[in-house]
Amino acid sequence: MKTREMICIGCPLGCNLTVKIDGENVEVSGNTCNNGVVYANNEIKNPTRIVTSTVKVLDGDIERVSCKTETAIPKGKIFDCMAEIRKKKVNAPVRIGDVLISDVAGTGINVIATKNIEKEG
């Protein structure tokens, strides 16, 4: 059995949770409401995050286009995702929603542009 401390981010109260993990069994204490239990279960069983960063643009009016994973990816894949983003270069113009990297780090999720970039000049 393992024990983990975490802060629930379900509301501004920010309860300090103590989570006892015994295989599939997750026991939460320190929570004020049921949101704490849901949050802790997600964080233990399948923690995911949306990753935001920037990609190098060639001939753009600015140097970088901001981007995000279209949906949340597994937390453990964040740095693999970043390695692909760092290698990527795109040509201007870029539109919001354009797919910059498809299936990033084998997650099945695309990295898309979050800013419009015009061609320089």
């Binding site: 920037t54 995000k68 740095f79 979050t114």
Partner: protein
């Protein structure tokens, strides 16, 4: 040139205000922006979490800005980029300079101040040491990294746990930098809980509360910083010093509304918010000059900036259309844990049936209630499990309960 409404600043506040003015049927609008793009600070806030209230979805800063920019373009609202406003007079003449127009003055029936805020600089902190390269305000580092594409630093210490500092801790970690720690002089963080968890805890970055930087070493470039614990008077405690080797120090130590222009127009400023004192119609003490967004008081959510600016724009448009009579104000007193309120005064006779009052508390409180008293009588009591300075609060007041009231106050009391 003459306009009905001139808006200073093309960030989230200015854009939302402009759209509200147009919605009231006013055609003659000008937005003046000093940057080469509309959108303001949102353009560099590439993280997500914007728009949950406004659009019921989670957007990044540039996406949120784009929704407003597209509407402004659709409405064909006139705007000028690369224009720096250098003066506003109390009779609403706005003077700006730009490469294209040179020195220009425009006249407005109403002016909306939407200049936003800027970061507190190192000079405001009195940290000892040399002035080497490698010391940035968190927002400057954010711009260098997210728009101009620089790496900024490899080994980083962050002073201050404001949201921009926390966001930059994660951002720099993702770009391969090592963030050694975040030091916060207060016993609590100034940032949102969600940012503590997702920007620091996710990457095992330690947060030292009640700690500050007491020395910066290095002559050409930062080589290390010394951090010490502070006592309840925020004085460093001898013997608690720890030295961290680093090449970069980020400062995330607060934001200041940018009101140099407001002062030129004789706008009265609050000593608590550093922004204009406004009425329920977001009008300052100078007739026809309105204020909204971070120039009025620093917000933590852009959604609230947009909704506040929408109101300010609506009121400014109504003022231009002459729908407002004589003003008579009831002051809103903030005390006992409530630092300030916006608005600071209410024109009860002309007010809407229901208005929003936004405010911040002065400390972390548990088990307190927000109480509104009118002439000593409790007219509102809202129980709160937790209140924190980093989270802006709001409550609604009705015209019916304010009529005839001489003294109004918002305060905190023990919950019963």
């Amino acid at each position: 040139m003459k306009y009905d409404v001139v808006i200073i600043g093309g960030g989230p506040a200015g854009l939302s205000a402009a759209l509200a003015v147009r919605k009231e049927g006013i055609d003659s609008i000008l937005i003046i922006e000093r940057d080469d793009k509309l959108g303001g600070i949102l353009n560099q806030c590439i993280h997500n979490g914007f728009g949950l209230h406004t659009f019921k979805e989670e957007l990044t800063g540039p996406e949120y800005a784009c929704r407003y920019i597209e509407k402004v373009l659709e409405e064909k609202i006139e705007y000028k980029l690369n224009c720096m406003v250098i003066g506003i007079s109390d009779d609403r003449k706005v003077t700006y300079v730009s490469k294209e127009d040179g020195l220009c003055t425009v006249e407005a029936k109403a002016v909306i101040l939407a200049m936003g805020c800027r970061e507190r600089p190192r000079g405001a902190l009195n940290i000892a040491g040399f002035r080497p390269a490698g010391i940035y305000s968190a927002g400057t580092a954010q711009r260098l990294m997210n728009i101009e594409g620089y790496k900024v630093g490899n080994e980083v210490v962050i002073l201050g746990s404001g949201d921009i500092g926390l966001i930059m801790a994660r951002r720099m970690t993702l770009e391969g930098a090592k963030v050694k720690c975040v030091a916060e002089v207060m016993p609590y963080s100034g940032g949102l809980k969600r940012n503590i968890v997702q920007c620091l805890n996710d990457y095992d970055i330690p947060l030292f509360l009640s700690h500050t930087v007491i020395d910066i070493k290095g002559k050409e470039r930062v080589e290390s910083v010394v951090i010490a614990q502070v006592d309840e008077n925020r004085k460093p405690i001898p013997g608690t010093e720890k030295e961290y080797k680093c090449d970069t120090l980020l400062l995330s130590v607060g934001l200041l509304p940018e009101n140099e222009l407001s002062k030129l127009a004789n706008v009265e400023l609050s000593r608590v918010t550093n922004g204009p004192v406004v009425s329920d119609s977001f009008e300052t003490n100078v007739e026809g000059i309105f204020a909204c967004g971070n120039v009025l008081h620093v917000h933590d959510l852009v959604d609230y900036v947009s909704s506040e600016a929408d109101l300010a724009g609506t009121y400014a448009a109504k003022y231009v259309k002459n729908q407002k009579g004589d003003r008579e104000y009831l002051d809103v007193e903030a005390r006992d844990g409530v630092r300030y309120t916006v608005p600071q005064k209410i024109d009860v006779k002309n007010m809407e049936d229901r208005i929003i009052v936004r405010f911040r508390v002065s400390n972390e409180f548990r088990g307190k209630s927000i109480v509104v008293e009118a002439d000593g009588k409790e007219i509102r009591r809202v129980k709160k499990r937790v209140l924190a300075p980093g989270e802006m609060e709001q409550l609604f007041l009705n015209k019916a309960e304010l009529e005839g009231v001489k003294k109004l106050c918002v305060c905190l009391k023990e919950s019963v």
